[in-house]
């Protein structure tokens, strides 16, 4: 991948993301033209340029509902796609993904326990921190269960994922069972994945997790490339393999925990996006990770746009939309891997 093409890819994704942010903020029950959205944004930062939204509720709708929702979509998409690419690197397996191996549902266990018990002593961050802790525990569990000499075979990975997912969903079911009616309703919708509850406090709670995770991913990129050579060879090139693995796992839990806490389980983003980027740009993590972050943001904005506009007056669960695309994609990848390896005995 030449430098020019790398810059081109990042540039294209950045422009696509900016355009989508404007478009997505304008679409919905109340339509606001892009020029007015840009105008409203510019006025907010003190520049008296462009038209303000013409509808009397326009500006209010933008800043109270649309912008936080789009901002959360960007953060969650970037987090999930980056987490997917990181997991694939550390598992040495392109099928590793937070929702497939059970990290998302593991994080959801912590979040749902907090929702049910109503604990809030970390304020806004309570749910995110709980999701991070159980997500971290789950990642460590999957990592130690499914690894053999530095790599994870597809079969082992998928079967471990099934086991971990079913355990996590049992705990979530229990939380749902003991919950009161309103918490139960919140839990059910949140499990399906939704950006419906996006507020500025939610955005500010996710933001530091995402930013920290993205910065860490860029720092780790070079070493993740070396990890593709296998644990021993990576070690021979000066990588402290165990420390790298542990660091990546913490970063994955950080990214997934923050996303799950405020948007529920949005599956397959971390599978589809890094895979497409690898097909375009090759496997080098220095480009893969930032490009996946941008691509993930694009995907989740589009998925959320579909979720709230496909059916009039209905807000579909976004997790349903991403799974509708992601699950067949996963199946196709699985078939292809199987053909390449000549069957799994």
């Amino acid at each position: 991948m030449s430098r020019l093409r790398s810059v081109g890819l990042i540039g294209f994704l950045t422009v696509a993301l900016l355009v989508l942010v404007i478009v997505a903020a304008g679409l919905g029950q109340l339509r606001i033209p892009p020029a007015e959205i840009v105008g409203s944004l510019l006025h907010r930062i003190g520049l008296d340029l462009g038209p303000m939204p013409s509808h009397p509720q326009g500006d209010n709708a933008l800043w109270k509902v649309r912008f936080p929702r789009v901002a959360l979509a960007v953060l969650v998409g970037a987090s999930l796609a980056t987490a997917g690419a990181l997991m694939q690197g550390v598992f040495g397996n392109p099928l590793a993904e937070p929702s497939v191996v059970g990290v998302s549902s593991g994080a959801a266990v912590g979040a749902s326990l907090v929702i049910v018990t109503g604990v809030t002593y970390l304020g806004n961050w309570t749910i995110a921190v709980a999701a991070f802790i159980t997500g971290l525990g789950t990642t460590l569990l999957v990592h130690s269960l499914s690894r053999a000499s530095g790599r994870t075979e597809v079969v082992t990975l998928v079967l471990t994922g099934i086991a971990v997912n079913s355990l996590a969903f049992t705990l979530i079911s229990f939380a749902t069972f003991i919950a009161n009616t309103s918490a139960r309703e919140q839990l059910v919708f949140w499990q399906l994945g939704s950006l419906n509850g996006a507020t500025w406090p939610a955005v500010t709670a996710v933001l530091p997790f995402t930013v920290a995770g993205l910065i860490a991913s860029v720092v780790l990129a070079r070493r993740l490339d070396l990890l593709s050579l296998g644990d021993r060879s990576a070690g021979h090139l000066g990588v402290d393999v165990e420390r790298l693995r542990l660091t990546v796992i913490v970063v994955v839990a950080l990214l997934v925990g923050a996303s799950v806490a405020f948007s529920g389980i949005i599956g397959f983003v971390g599978l589809v996006v890094p895979h497409l980027i690898r097909m375009i740009a090759g496997p080098g993590h220095r480009l893969l990770l930032p490009a996946s972050a941008l691509g993930g943001a694009v995907l989740v904005i589009v998925a959320d746009l579909l979720a709230r506009t496909l059916i009039r007056n209905a807000d579909l669960p976004i997790g349903m939309i991403t799974s509708l695309v992601g699950a067949p994609f996963f199946f196709w990848l699985l078939r292809r891997t199987r053909t390449r390896q000549g069957g799994w005995g």
């Binding site: 392109p94 070079r222 593709s228 050579l229 060879s233 070690g235 000066g238 496997p283």
Partner: protein
């Protein structure tokens, strides 16, 4: 922490050493009181039957296996004195088989050999070192191909090129010739000789005793986890010793041209 860059040792100095090393893997003793030193300017061949402990000894030298007893030294210090990156600046390793998780190209993989020098003054050499490694390992023609599309012999040469690009003074090669054709087998050991002529130290595990006899300055014969002979190939590779170690009658003659031992099992 500041990384301590290596300084090159002059020829004939000990760059790596194991002293009284014993190691059991999974309860089975593999190495039993092995002492061996590796010197700059020298090709040292490790030979011996299957299961004698050659690769494990190489693994101890490279730091992959921590010995149960005994000590390992690199560049005059205990191995654990160096951080992983500092170790990588001083020794490179080529392993027997390589599997790569993602479809990296050959050029990417060889460039990874420069990782230890990232953000040091020697990073300026990256391009030259990679280019030289391409040429030496004879892989320039397929540098844009994806690793998984290569044959076994081609893969071995890519792994070798990566170890060469690392440009450390100690080169540890674990059966580098196993997958190679005759031409490339000879080429790899000529290369080892050339590196040693430039004051590098090369340790190579080989099965082909004639390669060891033809190219090594020193041969260490391992049997049941012990070094049973260590020295000049002409002195060490005798019919008597080899017949006993390999439990098969072996004949040795001096080559009429070079005088190097020619080794054949009796058939």
């Amino acid at each position: 922490m500041r990384r301590r860059l290596p300084s090159r040792l002059p020829t004939g100095r000990t760059i790596a050493e194991v002293r009284g090393v014993s190691l059991a893997l999974g309860g089975t003793p593999i190495l039993d009181g092995v002492s061996l030193s590796v010197r700059t300017g020298e090709v040292l061949a490790l030979v011996g039957p299957n299961g004698a402990g050659k690769s494990t000894l190489l693994g101890v030298l490279s730091g992959d296996h921590a010995p149960d007893h005994g000590a390992v030294f690199l560049a005059g210090e205990p191995l654990n004195h160096w951080s992983p990156v500092e170790t990588a600046m001083r020794r490179s390793v080529m392993l027997q088989q390589a599997t790569i998780s993602f479809p990296f190209t050959v050029a990417d993989l060889v460039a990874m050999g420069r990782a230890p020098w990232y953000a040091t003054t020697r990073a300026d050499d990256d391009e030259r070192a990679v280019q030289a490694a391409f040429e030496t390992a004879d892989i320039t023609e397929f540098r844009h191909r994806v690793f998984s599309s290569l044959s076994g012999g081609e893969r071995a040469r890519v792994s070798l090129a990566r170890a060469l690009a690392q440009e450390s003074q100690l080169l540890l090669l674990d059966e580098p010739t196993a997958a190679l054709d005759l031409h490339h087998q000879e080429a790899v050991l000529q290369l080892a000789r050339k590196s040693a002529a430039g004051d590098d130290a090369v340790v190579v595990v080989v099965h082909d005793l004639n390669l060891a006899a033809g190219y090594a300055d020193r041969v260490a014969v391992l049997s049941h986890g012990k070094v049973v002979a260590d020295g000049n190939p002409r002195k060490v590779l005798t019919a008597e010793l080899l017949s006993e170690v390999y439990r098969h009658p072996v004949e040795v003659w001096p080559h009429p041209g070079s005088g190097a031992p020619v080794i054949l099992p009796r058939r």
